[in-house]
């Protein structure tokens, strides 16, 4: 198993390098110059030149890319143009918020997704199954930002139960988490349902029934364990998608997360923050996928024996 993990980690390197190259080039060809947005008021040309030098904006593409990568290897992601803090601390401040938001959303999605999926699989072709499937279809197509706005309208503006912005207390995470989690809950529900339907038809389920197990036990112990295996991969993928979706939800609920920081950084041409942010997000995305694959092997004995 360790050999497999090592190999997967090694394969990460080229991908991350590719990510850095792609984002660096995109930022390089972006018009507009961050110095201007910084030196707003009547900056003299020399001050402008001095700042360009300090931020390392002179020099050709390869030169800048080369010393960016060299500094990166030493763990220095460069400094954020506006606050002059180094990017690592900026990300360290904001990344936990996005992770908190994404994990709440995943938890919400898994809990609701699984329950709805299982219920509609057991009660197939009943009215409940149809309603759940229609709602999950709507859930998938509902834009997360619009859903966020509706929730904010209902719970913050009209009913004033939950705070509309900020991120200090737990109650601030609920609404954005749900808004972010709706899409994933819907797709997990559909995935669980088709997984369960697939499993319930298997012979070992009738064996289990023939053993005299109660319907509840048959479903929870035997059917669910087998149906969950494909669902784990979707949960892993959902976590990755959530990192992307968080960008929108954070800008609605004004959550100081990586997504919002990235959008502002792209707008104000804050290159190091963009590059650092995308790198961290891509890295966590790949790590989550790796964890999911390992989990997959752990849960499914057939796969585990291949890796032993």
């Amino acid at each position: 198993m360790l050999k497999y993990i090592a190999r997967r980690l090694l394969m990460l390197i080229p991908v991350l390098l590719g990510v850095i190259l792609l984002v660096f080039s995109l930022m390089y060809i972006t018009p507009g110059d961050p110095v201007d947005s910084l030196l707003g008021d009547n900056a003299t040309p020399e001050a402008r030149e001095a700042l360009r030098e300090e931020l390392g904006l002179n020099g050709g593409y390869f030169e800048r890319f080369f010393n960016y990568v060299v500094r990166l290897l030493r763990g220095d992601m460069g400094i954020c143009y506006s606050t002059r803090q180094n990017v690592a601390t900026r990300i360290a401040q904001t990344f936990p918020n996005t992770v908190k938001l994404a994990s709440f959303a995943v938890a919400f999605a898994v809990v609701f997704g699984l329950t709805f999926g299982i219920v509609s699989a057991i009660r197939q072709y009943s009215i409940i199954d149809n309603i759940v499937m229609s709602i999950s279809m709507i859930g998938i197509s509902m834009p997360s930002f619009w859903c966020g706005l509706l929730l904010m309208l209902l719970f913050c503006v009209k009913l004033k139960w939950l705070p509309a912005s900020g991120f200090d207390s737990f109650s601030c995470v609920i609404l954005p988490g749900i808004a972010l989690g709706v899409n994933s809950a819907a797709s997990i529900a559909r995935m669980t349902r088709s997984g369960m339907l697939e499993v319930i038809r298997q012979d070992y389920i009738s064996t289990a029934r023939a053993k005299g197990l109660s319907e509840f036990k048959v479903v929870t112990v035997h059917a669910l364990k087998n149906a969950l295996i494909p669902v784990i991969t979707t949960i892993g993928m959902q976590f990755g998608l959530l990192l992307g979706g968080a960008v929108l939800i954070e800008s609605i609920f004004a959550i100081p997360g990586v997504g919002k920081m990235m959008v502002d950084a792209i707008k104000s041409r804050n290159y190091p923050v963009v590059q650092g942010g995308v790198l961290v997000i891509a890295l966590s995305f790949c790590l989550v996928n790796l964890v999911v694959d390992i989990l997959y092997a752990y849960v499914d004995p057939r796969v585990r024996s291949q890796y032993k």
Binding site: Y125, D203, R209, A210, L213, N226, V299, R302
Partner: protein, 328 residues
């Protein structure tokens, strides 16, 4: 009490209600079985064999399947009237079942010992360790090294998996075992080992058994009584000797004609022409008449009754009841 029937099925009728048609899977079937006896249930696919045994265990998939009428007395108790909770106590304890395809009848994500221990703990109680130990004993009984108990199903061959299924079925030494074509999915050599094992265990535990098969060789080797099913009905019932030596019903004869006989020089087997009837609209009168070489007008009109042509040997065919069996 000795010849008191352990199992008695009285004109059982089961239909499958699909979207636009009803499938008459089983039509008022009558069967009975004594303690320790083995009944062979023979018939082509779609004759309703699996539906019958599943209705005994009451694990028919309820939305489409429906038991229209009939009673199933087991040990004097009508299983169809019993509450679900009560039924669960019987399943696995009193009646056990072995399924056809060993490849898929074991849960792939649970160790073999756990799956056996599960049924033991369910019915005989005891701690987890005791159940586990008993499960290993069962594995040893069926010829599998106990330490392999912690392996997963995918690490066993087809034959070994069937042994595990048998071990699981007999874990709570049930009084009645249903085997739904246990060896069809196995190749011949493994088949012989598994049958040998079942015969040994049957003798050791005095378990009554219903063996579903379409392989007459197995019937000859292991069954005391034989019931020939066709299109949801028992057309001929009798002891092994009756069926093999004094075959009466044309369909049974047709079945035997399909097997190459080692002693006679035959260059061509005589197949029964045609296919089993469409269960949604069964033919009038005797169900076999479209394919029966001796079908008369009466066969096409009137449904034949079950007649005891000799003690313990019943046949449902006008030919036999009406005229003599000159062209048997």
């Amino acid at each position: 009490m000795a010849n008191e029937k352990l199992l008695e099925i009285k004109n059982l009728t089961v239909h499958y209600q699909s979207y636009d048609a009803t499938v008459h899977a089983v039509e008022n079937l009558n069967l009975s079985l004594g303690n320790g006896e083995t009944l062979g249930l023979v018939g082509e696919t779609g004759a309703g064999k699996t539906t019958t045994v599943k209705s005994i265990m009451r694990i028919l998939p309820t939305p489409p399947a429906r038991v229209v009428s009939g009673e199933i007395f087991f040990d004097g108790q009508d299983l169809l009237k019993v509450s679900e909770k009560e039924m669960r106590k019987i399943r696995g304890k009193e009646i056990a079942m072995i399924f056809q395809d060993p490849m898929t009848s074991l849960n792939p994500v649970m160790t073999v010992a756990d799956q056996i221990a599960e049924v033991i703990r369910l019915h005989d109680g005891g701690s987890r360790a005791e159940a586990h130990k008993k499960a290993c004993d069962m594995l040893e009984l069926v010829g599998i090294r106990p330490e392999r108990g912690s392996d997963y199903p995918h690490q066993f061959s087809g034959g070994m998996k069937q042994r595990v299924v048998i071990a699981m079925a007999l874990a709570c030494n049930p009084r009645f075992l249903i085997a739904d074509e246990p060896t069809t999915a196995l190749d011949v050599t493994i088949q012989a080992q598994v049958l040998e094992l079942m015969k040994k265990l049957k003798a050791q535990y005095q378990t009554a058994m219903v063996m579903i098969t379409h392989d007459l060789g197995i019937v000859a080797e292991i069954c005391d009584y034989v019931a020939i099913m066709y299109a949801g009905e028992v057309v001929e019932y009798g002891t092994r000797e009756h069926i093999f030596n004094s075959t009466a019903h044309p369909y049974t004869k047709g079945l035997f004609a399909c097997i190459p006989d080692i002693f006679t020089e035959q260059n061509e087997l005589v197949p029964i022409n045609g296919l089993t009837p469409d269960p949604t609209d069964l033919p009038q009168g005797c169900r076999f008449n479209p394919r029966c070489p001796y079908a008369t007008e009466r066969c096409r009109q009137e449904h034949p009754e079950n007649v005891e042509i000799e003690p313990g040997h019943f046949v449902a065919c006008h030919l036999i009841n009406g005229g003599g069996n000159e062209n048997a």
